[in-house]
């Protein structure tokens, strides 16, 4: 008989469907055939993972249809099973998996939609990074500006914000009239008062925020922009009025 490590390795392969025979030799074929009994466990494990994906990607499921989503989720689960027990964080690779499916090659917005949906799904959860802060001169004073720790940025090759908004609101009837080829979209996803907010950004604002999230300071983040075509006032206005910005004006004057 196999040792425990070998048995468990064989059992996992049997559940994921890559090798259905090795684990069976160790199983007592009662009350049913060993293969059928293993299938009981397989059904529980795989359906649990598909359910986790369904919970994270409800809009994608509605766009794909329940049957196709189930089939695709099952293929993803078998190819990329989770590596940790917190299922709320399982499924990050699903959008990339969708982008490689031949059946969706004519519908590239589906993977982008899933990418947006994953960011929306994860935004309310705890974040492992502290919020990014920077100092901004406001008249004679310094203002402390911070990015909400829930902030995530994505760039979508296709225009999916309107699709996501419509489907999430249950307004699928108008989907056919939405044009997804007008991308790219530069999007910010954040939480405010418990609600997830998706904000469309200009390319300069997205670039600056992306650099800030990467740990660069404000000067370096702005320096990366094309200075000849930069409207600094408009950029500052866009960023400072965004829902994921917190401004603390309670700092003393630089001249005092």
């Amino acid at each position: 008989m196999p040792d425990l490590a070998t048995l468990q390795s064989d059992f996992v392969r049997a559940l994921l469907g890559s090798d259905r025979e090795s684990a069976i030799v160790a199983i007592d074929a009662a009350p049913a055939s060993a293969a059928l009994l293993v299938a009981v466990y397989r059904n529980t494990a795989l359906s649990g993972l598909c359910e986790a994906l369904r919970a994270s990607y409800p809009v994608t499921e509605r766009v794909l249809g329940s049957a196709f989503f189930e089939q695709t989720a099952l293929a993803f689960v078998r190819e990329r099973p989770p590596t940790e027990p917190v299922l709320a964080r399982y499924g990050a690779g699903f959008p990339d998996f969708l982008s490689m499916l031949p059946a969706l090659v004519e519908l590239p917005y589906v993977a982008d939609l899933a990418r947006l949906e994953w960011a929306v799904d994860q935004a309310p959860l705890d974040h492992r990074c502290d919020s990014r802060r920077f100092t901004l001169a406001v008249g004679d004073a310094d203002a402390q500006v911070s990015l909400d720790p829930s902030l995530g940025l994505i760039v979508s090759a296709t225009a999916v914000r309107a699709i996501w908004t419509a489907v999430a609101a249950g307004e699928e009837d108008g989907l056919a009239s939405l044009e997804w080829r007008t991308g790219p979209e530069h999007l910010a996803i954040s939480c405010r008062d418990g609600e997830v907010v998706v904000t469309a950004l200009s390319l300069p604002a997205w670039t600056v925020l992306s650099a800030l999230l990467d740990g660069q300071d404000l000067a370096a983040s702005v320096a990366a922009l094309d200075a000849d075509h930069l409207d600094e006032a408009a950029l500052a206005c866009e960023i400072l009025s965004a829902p994921f910005i917190r401004i603390d004006l309670g700092h003393s004057s630089r001249n005092s």
Partner: protein, 288 residues
């Protein structure tokens, strides 16, 4: 977090708390003796954890893990154990439990409680993992007997023998799931009554009650599926009354996951268990 409500789980009937009932329990905790949650469902934080902390202010909470994978040959995931420790520190639960099973092999995690062969090798491994978990958590774990659909040819002991030795070696306690006991025994052609008293009764710190389903397999055989999707069966109530007649009152949990009913249905099941508890030894455990 340190709640003003005692962390001690009373020898009463509580309910397994699931997300759809959070708000209702938070708004009206009276009529619920205590609740139990899966800590893995809260480890990502967010609103769910905040709601659990609100509920903890009014009710004792038990943390019932599904992710320690105490039977994994590769050992316990240290990161997950640390996350559980952080959750224990935050929630101040009355009880912490997990299963006699495994879920991880080769770095792959599967959301199921997979069966162990009851061998000396597995016993030594589980004992080592339980001791490590207890050391990090700073408290005894309750170990739950799993529902099983198969057994291994090379097993050398019964589940009751395995659990009894594990208790003796590690000082862990038992979470005795009577639905699991019934499902396993029925599936494996055994008599649940014959093994009911096979574990050390004085080590039982909690009892689980739940419903199960019948499923016809492709070869025509029928098995019981531990789906937590219905009321507790008459056979399991029978095991329960027989057990608490011997043990006296023990914290008892009604579990319901699939086709989750209204909270009132869970409360009614808990009340039924509470009535059985009330007619036992008046709060004194009989097992010395």
């Amino acid at each position: 977090m340190r709640s003003s409500t005692s962390s001690t789980i009373p020898a009463s009937a509580g309910i397994g708390l699931r997300f759809p009932h959070h708000r209702e329990v938070a708004a009206s905790p009276k009529g619920v003796a205590w609740v139990e949650v899966h800590p893995e469902n809260y480890m990502a934080g967010g609103a769910a954890l905040a709601q659990l902390e609100t509920i903890r202010r009014d009710l004792p909470v038990s943390l019932h893990g599904v992710g320690l994978s105490l039977g994994s040959a590769a050992g316990i995931d240290r990161d997950h154990l640390a996350a559980l420790k952080a959750m224990v520190d935050r929630i101040d639960p009355g009880l912490v439990s997990d299963h006699l099973s495994w879920s991880v092999a080769g770095g792959v995690y599967l959301p199921d409680l997979l069966p162990l062969p009851y061998t000396e090798e597995a016993l030594a491994l589980v004992a080592r993992n339980v001791e490590m978990a207890q050391s990090v958590l700073g408290r005894p774990l309750l170990i739950e007997n799993p529902s099983r659909y198969l057994q291994f040819r090379h097993a050398t002991m019964t589940e009751a023998e395995f659990l009894s030795t594990l208790v003796a070696q590690t000082g862990c306690r038992l979470l005795y799931d009577l639905n699991n006991l019934f499902v396993s025994a029925t599936n494996l052609g055994q008599d649940p009554l014959a093994s009911l008293f096979g574990v050390p009764l004085e080590a039982i710190g909690e009892i689980h009650l739940a419903g199960h389903a019948r499923k016809r397999l492709d070869d025509g055989s029928e098995i019981r599926i531990d789906d937590h999707g219905s009321a507790v069966s008459a056979e399991v109530w029978d095991l329960y009354t027989r057990l608490i007649h011997r043990t006296g009152p023990v914290p008892t949990l009604i579990e319901w996951d699939r086709d989750l009913p209204a909270l009132g249905v869970l409360r009614a099941e808990a009340l039924k268990a509470q009535r059985f508890l009330a007619i036992t030894s008046g709060g004194v455990r009989r097992v010395a």
